[in-house]
């Protein structure tokens, strides 16, 4: 997993799984990189094969941490390019209400949180 920061956007890439095996390390690593001047967090799920409850929990937890003490509208949180099974998990957990779901990394198209 790689975490890069550029122009106010924190990008997470190379995430092969997001489950009980790595959920805590994922959340800790991204949370450590958070700062108040961030404008966007973009998590690339293009390589993510599996997501389970622990992984979804880490995403929600990250959302809470990132938006704590600030206006959620001032921070864009995007999950990009999820595979269909991963997207179904995201929809089942209604995370599309918290995160913007973008079909491709870098694309501005996609669903805004509803």
């Amino acid at each position: 997993m790689d975490i890069n920061r550029q122009n106010g956007t924190l990008s997470v890439t190379g995430l092969r799984e997001l489950n009980s095996a790595n959920a805590h390390s994922f959340r800790s690593a991204v949370a450590t990189a958070l700062s108040h001047d961030l404008q966007a967090i973009e998590i690339d799920l293009s390589q993510t094969q599996t997501v389970d409850g622990a992984g979804l929990g880490a995403l929600v937890s990250l959302y809470e941490t990132a938006t704590a003490h600030r206006d959620p509208d001032g921070l864009r949180l995007r999950l990009t390019n999820p595979s269909p099974p991963v997207q179904q998990m995201i929809e089942l957990a209604r995370l599309h209400h918290l995160f913007e779901i973008a079909p491709q990394a870098g694309s501005l198209e996609g669903t805004r949180p509803q």
Binding site: G53, A54, R94
Partner: protein
Amino acid sequence: MKAILPLFIFIDACGWEIIKDDAFCNTMAPNRRRLDSVFGYSSACVPSILSGRWPEAHRNWCYFVYDPKHSPFRFLKPYAWLPKAITSRRIVRRWLSKLVKVQLKFRGYFDLYNIPFKHISLFDFTEKKSPLRPRGMNCGANIFDFLEESEIAYHVSNPARSETENLDAMLQELKAGRIDFGFVYWPDLDGLLHREGNQSPDISPKLRGYEARLRQLLDAAQEQYAEVRLYVFSDHGMANCDTLLDLKRSIDQLPLRMGQDYVVVYDSTMARFWFFNERARRLLTERLRETPDGAIVPDAELERLHCLFPDRYFGELIFLLREGVLLVPSHMGERPIRAMHGYHPEEKHSYAALLTNQPNLPDDVTAIPDIYRLMVRDALLARDRNGSQGESEWRCGRRVSPNRGTPELAGASSARLGVPGIECERL
């Protein structure tokens, strides 16, 4: 000590109009909001809350539907010879309902209500499973499926137990700090309001009693959890019924025969029709248009309310009464009842309520299916922050191994749950 406990308290019929001028829960859950309900009865509202979807998607709407091919009640047809004076008695009906429920292995709420034995084999019953259990929906997943698939330890009330028994069971779970999600269901206010109406002097004491129980739950939870996210909510309100309408007599006067020209289910506040010929459709439609105190619900309105079923499984025509009017007699009861719900969701007493100790309730939580979203969000957060992964977990008071779903779900792809169009009952 664990970090977070989401605690969801469902008080049936504790609608917005019931609590809006009452200080109910003001100290424990000061942030309150009026919520849109779902068109239909508890049979529609409860599954909508528990699944986050609307009746058009989960297909739990009204209990009885015309479906003679799949009717499980054919064995009751011989009882048609019994005199109505006996079969319409509530005590007889309740006793028979219990027998039928056992015989047919129904797992949800079941009541024969006032469906005549002469016609009961025309109908199927649509809530054979309990929505308060995993795999309890007619179509798709509910919150308990999600919790099980996500391996989140939870406790949910057993509707077969009393309110106090369910309170005690939840208190035990909280004191043990075993769970990461709690769901309590209290139905007694609904019964009180049905019997005595929405101005009953017994309402305030009932609410004070609920407050005392909530305080017990909060105190117990705060011993084991650093943060308790409390949500108190309802499915609908309750309207007093001051006008009675005998629609059945009016319909029976038409030169049509029930079962041959048409079939109708008289719910308490609506009548649902199926037609077998154009003459029946025309005559019944004309009669309903002449009927005061109600109106045929247009398809566009049903669609707006997310209750339009393209296969017309729940009825080809829906006639709905205005608030405060009750069908008597109906297939739900032979005699009047003081108050009822199941009117248009935009009628004054239909609105539900949500009260919480969370200061930042999302703006887009506006209707009761949105409560599901709060449940999932907070359950996932509790799973993450409580760090219960890899440990043995408790669900419904029984210990299970981690990384294993319920037997029914074993092997099922969690990604399939809740996806429209899959894993549906025949409905």
